[in-house]
Subunit: 296 residues, 2 copies
């Protein structure tokens, strides 16, 4: 699949996710201010990479990608909650997110905390409402909750808070932090698609390896972009990692070695897909390349 | 069932929940500070009313109450997360909780936010791991997620933030806020036990009515206690509602009428149990009385 075809499909699937997210608060009573705050962050843009991964692995395993849309979009709700909470004054204290005021700046801190709590909780409501065999839905939901919880994303953010500003950390600590903070959800986005499709253990394992390698490649590329890109392109302050004393791959390994490492992980991700064929497998391989070649 | 027998059983079931909670972070890797922060609030005491309701309705519907313990205790994890987030400086800014420094005082604000996020997410992991028919587990989890999310507890807390300090609100607004903030979870604690037991629609409806009425009785009693009790007995500052400009039943209706209303809802709760018999039904009826007669 050419990079252009990949981008077209990524955009097409991302649009479906955005359409779904735009309606995710309909039909349920809630305070209008809370609804606005949730929708504000859900509609702030982004690549929608996680839900697209979920839809595409489901597609690669024999389901229609759109059939897992509510589950996939709920993953994006959880990703969005994590961004809202990460931006809070007590956390990274970021005033900008994707070129717009962060949630607690656009609303207020209490509403931002609650919008995050609401997105997280509501995501599990959507996941549990999937019209598919209950065993599969439950297995996928459980996989996702582990990846998003204290042994995954939440724990990774706590490590990030602890490590930020420390004089030095080891490469192993950096790896651990990222594997929990961003890696776990990226990996679970892939495995959840496979679990919803009821895939066998060996294919599930391969898809897990793909997701884990892609997650590392993605994070290294993110760290590199914070150094080499500019604020307008990124939609968030470039150079903010260094300013906040964040530990990053470029800081620890330098830019060249970081680039090589990202490339290597993207190749590992593609290698994990060896046993899969067809358009969805090609798309996922192209996504792995895109992860390290992107400019924002 | 005598009040004394009820208290003994409440304490016995509460102890089982506490034992389970004490081990809920075992066997999963997470930052030690996050684990300590989660356990600190989980082990701060409390009546464990919500998980006991879940175990007892499951028992009333034919299951062994202990068989739903992980699901019931996970409800307490969600209740605990809500207390941690409610106490944050941006929310109620409470320094004390159950006689001890609140979580963000004992740790730090970032860790408190993350401990809450972790408890909430991990709760769904535990719920989805229940070794019971997948359809039942999924139905209970979905019921609970709705009650805890933006159309329930989270939305109720947002209303509370909006209403606090407003010159006046209507009794309907007060009712709406409480039915979402505390009522939804109390009700769902009851219906989840019934759903896990695979109860039929008419019994589920009756149990939902019991839980809803009990929830209102509980909240009115809580408001009354804040006025008439003292800080040592409550384990949180007495009179804090008035100080924070909170809208309460005593403020709107006076103490006498509030007491009558609480009594009436407790009676409604008991009436909803008419079709149920046996020890668990008697226990739940006694719990409804306790809800309005308690002193803390």
């Amino acid at each position: 699949m050419t990079p252009q075809e990949m981008k077209t499909l990524l955009k097409e699937r991302g649009s479906k996710v955005e359409d779904w997210l735009a309606g995710c608060c309909d039909g349920r009573e809630m305070p209008p201010r809370l609804r606005e705050s949730m929708l504000y962050s859900l509609q702030a843009g982004g690549k929608r990479l996680r839900p697209v991964l979920c839809m595409s692995t489901a597609g690669m395993c024999g389901l229609a990608p759109e059939s897992v849309l509510p589950f996939a979009a709920a993953i994006e709700m959880v990703h969005t909650y994590s961004l809202i909470h990460d931006d809070l004054p007590a956390m990274d204290d970021d005033d900008l997110r994707r070129g717009k005021p962060s949630n607690h700046k656009a609303f207020d801190e209490a509403t931002a905390i609650l919008a995050g709590d609401g997105l997280l909780t509501d995501a599990f409501w959507f996941m549990s409402g999937m019209d598919m065999p209950a065993e599969r839905v439950l297995a996928a939901l459980r996989e996702f909750a582990f990846a998003a919880g204290s042994p995954g994303m939440v724990g990774g953010q706590e490590w990030d808070m602890i490590f930020t500003g420390m004089e030095s950390i080891t490469l192993d600590q950096l790896r651990l932090m990222h594997s929990m903070k961003t890696g776990a959800i990226l990996r679970a986005s892939c495995t959840c698609g496979a679990l919803l499709a009821g895939v066998d253990a060996s294919r599930l394992k391969a898809i897990g390896q793909f997701g884990a390698a892609l997650g590392v490649a993605f994070q290294i590329a993110d760290d590199i972009l914070d150094v080499v890109s500019d604020t307008a392109t990124l939609g968030k302050p470039a150079g903010s990692d260094a300013e906040q004393g964040k530990n990053t791959y470029p800081k620890m390994l330098g830019l060249d070695q970081s680039r090589q490492l990202a490339r290597q992980y993207a190749d590992d991700a593609k290698a994990a897909l060896q046993g899969f064929h067809g358009r969805e497998a090609e798309f996922l391989a192209a996504l792995a390349d895109y992860t390290v070649n992107r400019t924002a």
